[in-house]
Amino acid sequence: MEEREGPDAIMRALTFSLAGVPLEIRTPSRRLQELFAGYFAAYAPRLGEGEKEPPPLLDEEERRGAVGSKEEDSSIDQRVRLDLFRVDRLPEISDLLPQGERKIAQTGILSLWQGLSSTIEEWVFLSEGAAFRVEGAAGRITGWIAPAALALPQILANTMTLLPLLLLLRLKGRYHLHAAAVLSPKGARWLICGPPRAGKSTLTTALGLSGWRPIADDGLFLSAHRGVPFLEAFRKSFHLDRRLWERWPKLAEIRQGPASLERILVDGLSHFGTAELARSGWSGIDGILLPRISGERQSQLASIEPSRVLLTLAQESVYFPLCPPHPQRQWTLLTELVRQARGYTLSAGEDLLDDPGRIAHLLEA
């Protein structure tokens, strides 16, 4: 029997720090508490009592009073709060953005809407299973979760909730980069950057099986630290294609977590002994690899112009055009990263699946 939460349900809060930003996830739902405690397990969230549930929908005047206006952005604190509610029916977008909205992005059935209020920066993410409102100045996200989204817990955490969170972190100067990070045995720091299904997780794991140290398989946070680019791993489960288990016998040693579509979640950082390493951020990158699955027999590694590397990094930076002056700040950090590193494309062939050590040989050569 599903637990239900009534209006008097007790809000409980998961608190931890993500990329140096204090984060509080509050929900009366035990199921959501458990989901996010698991999703953010590497950050060791503490579960404590939260306040009684606040009204999730305020009118414009109340919200302005509660969260401040755009002009007060400089005075807001760094804290981010995420309030989640289970509902049977999602609110209408006109309730969430009463002053009007415009759609600014769409992928499949997930859409991103920007509010037209002149005083409050706010966005709404809508899908068939969940709705999230992001209030920039308040540092607050409110999420309404319907049964359809609860049926896909990994996607609810890793996409529906993560995307609004990344937008709010952007306003705090933490820019998400869709890239993996791996240290070579000699200590060279490599990024592997590319769109979904480019081979980031596969290559990261192949390198991990070859004595390299994976720090992240999918996401990093880029920020400025004392004026230089600073990278931090987004510490979460690695998402590995289930077919790899048929090709790489060494993977049998990795304890499998739940499956999500064709992917199997594994605790890659624990398996490769890099959980502690991944806790620290770092500045400086030695190499940037842009992979793509070629379907050919042999893999090919080729050096490329830094401008192409930079373009890929910018394209794999979610929300790059949003929230000026952040595009300019992010651009400056990305250009600094690219200037430090050598860039390569990898046309990943079947030989990598035959021998996971092949990629390490190619990069070390």
């Binding site: 992005a105 499949g108 890793n158 993560l162 769109p195 999918d218 999500s260 401008s307 651009w331």
Partner: protein, 152 residues
């Protein structure tokens, strides 16, 4: 395409562009911060942009003069180089990265640094891409596929 320009035509590069040399004297990128259009510049284009930004050249004539000094070009090449530079400036203007400035009296340009052993190549501006589109990258594409497949 704007141009060709008289040699005394004065130009002003656009404020609100981010110029970064990724490989010294060989490859640079320009980001127009208004529309997030992303351009690459080759070595000669880098020199010209730097001169115009630093006030070492404000007219076509000064750019040509600086190029001849920097690259030690033979006099026979003057006409061809002027055409190439005029075309390049026209591309900058067409893309909103440069505008004709008021007044026709040219100012004195500065002395350009030598280009060392680097050969002159025609200046080139390439529009690489626009970064103005909001992408929801990451696992979102997987998620939406999953939701669709479960019928919501």
């Amino acid at each position: 395409m704007p141009g060709p320009y008289p040699s005394e035509t004065r130009f002003q590069i656009k404020e609100g562009t981010s110029f970064t040399e990724l490989v010294e004297n060989r490859e640079a990128v320009l980001l127009d911060l208004d529309n997030l259009h992303y351009y690459t510049l080759n070595g000669t284009a880098i020199e010209i942009w730097r001169w115009m930004r630093g006030g070492e050249a404000a007219t076509l004539g000064q750019v040509i003069s600086n190029l001849h000094g920097a690259f030690r070009l033979p006099e026979a090449d003057f006409g061809r180089v002027e055409q190439e530079v005029s075309r390049f400036l026209g591309e900058l203007e067409q893309n909103g990265l440069l505008r004709l400035s008021e007044g026709s009296r040219p100012e004195q340009g500065g002395a350009a640094r030598g280009a060392g052993d680097r050969p002159y190549v025609p200046p080139q501006l390439k529009l690489a891409s626009s970064l103005s589109r909001v992408t929801l990258s990451g696992s979102s594409t997987i998620a939406t596929a999953a939701i669709s497949s479960t019928g919501g």
